[in-house]
């Protein structure tokens, strides 16, 4: 008991030392004048860390595997784009619209979650996947949203380097907040309740955990950050299309990243998103494309078969066993 508390404060202190250094380092990275490619690449890593960390709030902590989370990303992207279009705003003002866009995503999550969160396991996974398809089709068929042509946004009147740097910093800020929220939720009473729901919802209820309310809160919170991220992404690309911002692959990828790293902690999705994005990019660059896909697929199989709780838990259990 005592030694446990001691080691946990020790690791806390370690985090308090390392995290600010890492964040400052990441924030300064674009100013070391790296090739633009690297700035975009790290931007993508941030985006996926943000997506899988926010997915983890409902999927990892509460065990409700949402396979349609890209819908919130798409909704955020379109909400921001429309905000800019309706008021014909400049890019920097349009970016202010990402916050209301996130709130709209949360609101839709509450409306969709109210009936859907009564379903469990595979039923919930399937219905959320359907929700993503339905929202994609809806946007595709709404003329006011540009339909199948997509939507153009204004571009910033600056050089590519500066443009990329601005969006890099924005995504870094959003991702940091997302990971911080995920970390705080994990330690809180709220997070403890979600864990109880994941383990056994009926038992959780008899322990006075208000499961319906906790689930919907987690779902709404986990929709907010993808909503904002979608908005930033829309401004970043300056063109959005239903096939891009509602891409089901993105849904599946954020789930896999969280599960790959380990969905029961805040750090799991971070590790999963970073490592998979790097591996994927590395493979596509250095290995033939066809072979890259095969290796990527095999990697997933190995992790799912041998490390069902993610790579982090696999290695931490290993070390624990050695300690004992």
């Amino acid at each position: 008991m005592k030694s446990d508390q001691f080691s946990s404060t020790n690791s806390n202190r370690l985090y308090q030392m390392i995290i600010p250094i890492v964040l400052v380092g990441l924030a300064l990275f674009p100013f070391s004048e790296p090739p633009v490619y690297f700035i975009s690449f790290v931007f993508w890593i941030f985006l996926y860390v943000c997506l899988s960390s926010s997915w983890n709030l409902i999927g990892g902590y509460a065990g409700y595997l949402s396979f349609g989370h890209v819908a919130f990303f798409g909704i955020g992207a379109y909400a921001t784009a429309m905000f800019g279009k309706i008021f014909s705003l400049s890019v920097s003002l349009t970016l202010l619209g990402t916050i209301p866009a996130g709130l709209i995503a949360s609101l839709i999550a509450i409306i969709v979650g109210y009936p859907c969160l009564r379903l469990r396991g595979p039923y919930f996974a399937v219905i959320t996947l359907c929700f993503a398809f339905v929202s994609q089709l809806t946007v595709k068929n709404l003329e006011i949203l540009g339909g199948a042509d997509g939507l153009w946004l204004k571009t910033m009147d600056v050089s590519v380097e500066i443009n990329r740097t601005i969006f890099y910093e924005l995504m870094l800020a959003l991702t940091s907040v997302t990971v911080l929220v995920s970390f705080l939720v994990g330690r809180s009473k709220f997070g403890a309740g979600l864990r109880a729901i994941k383990e056994d919802e009926e038992v959780a209820q008899t322990m006075a955990v208000n499961a319906p309310r906790l689930k919907i809160t987690a779902f709404a919170l986990s929709a907010f950050f993808p909503g904002v991220a979608g908005g930033i992404y829309a401004c970043y690309l300056s063109y959005i299309h239903p096939d891009v911002v509602f891409d089901v692959n993105m849904s599946i990828l954020q789930v896999l990243m969280a599960l790959f790293g380990g969905a029961s902690s805040w750090i799991g999705p971070v590790v999963g998103a970073v490592s998979l994005t790097v591996v994927n990019e590395g493979l596509s660059t250095f290995v033939k494309a066809e072979l890259a896909r095969i290796i990527y697929g095999c990697l997933f199989i190995v992790v799912i078969v041998f490390m069902p709780n993610g790579i982090l838990e696999f290695f931490s259990r290993r070390t624990k066993r050695i300690d004992n």
């Binding site: 008991m1 446990d4 330690r187 809180s188 009473k189 403890a192 309740g193 864990r195 109880a196 994941k198 383990e199 056994d200 009926e202 038992v203 959780a204 209820q205 008899t206 322990m207 006075a208 955990v209 208000n210 499961a211 029961s264």
Partner: protein, 248 residues
């Protein structure tokens, strides 16, 4: 005040399809009382617990807790008012260690708190009380049945209940374990002044621990009396052993 009933049920009916699990069942239990609930398999004991804790709702009848009607309330609300239960087939939260299992009940229970750290300290005290403190950082999968039953009790206690529903916490234990478990139940009654309803097949536990016993058979109450009277009641003997033994 202390003499008024904490939990009462009036004319509770519950059917599953054509099967009447409980019919016109009434009961009451007061603070500081240990009420035993006996009956052959399928007589409706666990159904009653599921109805009280809100996992099922009765077809008709009324359940009241401290004068408030809780018949159709949801399980989490009933639990937060102060009705805690254990499960006959133990249901620990398997991926969480014992401290976390109990701490979650502390934060969400009656007069819950929001600080997980404080809750963990309180959870440790409760594990100490139930004799599990030496396993506080273990996972349920590493525990034997006796300790898992204790964990069920610890978790129920952690939600700071006024009524404790114990569903066969002695089943599957050996005689020595039963004795320590009975002591634990006494200790709970003395320390926490809760009303306890316990479902039990182990007669030693019923006879020593309970102040009053209700016998159920096919969902109907056979009698409601002192343990000795219930054990000698002809209807009860007939239900358990057959009509031939219930003579004179």
């Amino acid at each position: 005040m202390s003499l008024s009933a904490t939990l009462t049920g009036h004319d509770i009916d519950k059917s599953f399809g054509g099967l009447k699990a409980l019919s016109k069942f009434s009961f009451e239990v007061k603070a500081g009382e240990i009420l035993g609930l006996i009956g052959p398999n399928g007589s409706g004991k666990t159904t009653l617990f599921n109805l009280i804790s809100g996992l099922f709702h009765p077809d008709s009848g009324k359940i009241e807790f401290e004068g408030a009607n809780i018949t159709h309330e949801s399980p989490h609300l009933i639990a937060s008012l102060g009705v805690a239960r254990t499960f006959q087939i133990v249901r620990p939260l398997r991926d969480l260690d014992l401290i976390e299992n109990v701490a979650i009940a502390v934060v969400y229970g009656r007069n819950g708190i929001s600080q997980m750290q404080v809750a963990r300290a309180k959870a440790f005290e409760i594990l100490e009380f139930t004799g599990l403190s030496h396993r506080a950082r273990r996972y349920p999968g590493e525990l034997a049945l006796e300790d898992l039953k204790r964990l069920e009790v610890a978790r129920a206690l952690a939600s700071n209940p006024k009524v404790l529903l114990l569903d066969e916490v002695f089943a599957g234990l050996n005689p020595k374990e039963i004795s320590t478990a009975i002591e634990l139940v006494y200790k709970i009654k003395e320390t926490y002044r809760v009303a306890i309803i316990m479902i039990e097949h182990v007669m030693k536990a019923i006879m020593t621990a309970c102040s009053r016993v209700i016998a159920l058979h096919h969902g109907v109450k056979l009698c409601d009396a002192s343990p000795m009277d219930v054990a000698n009641h002809p209807e009860v003997i007939r239900a358990y052993l057959g009509a031939g033994y219930a003579g004179n």
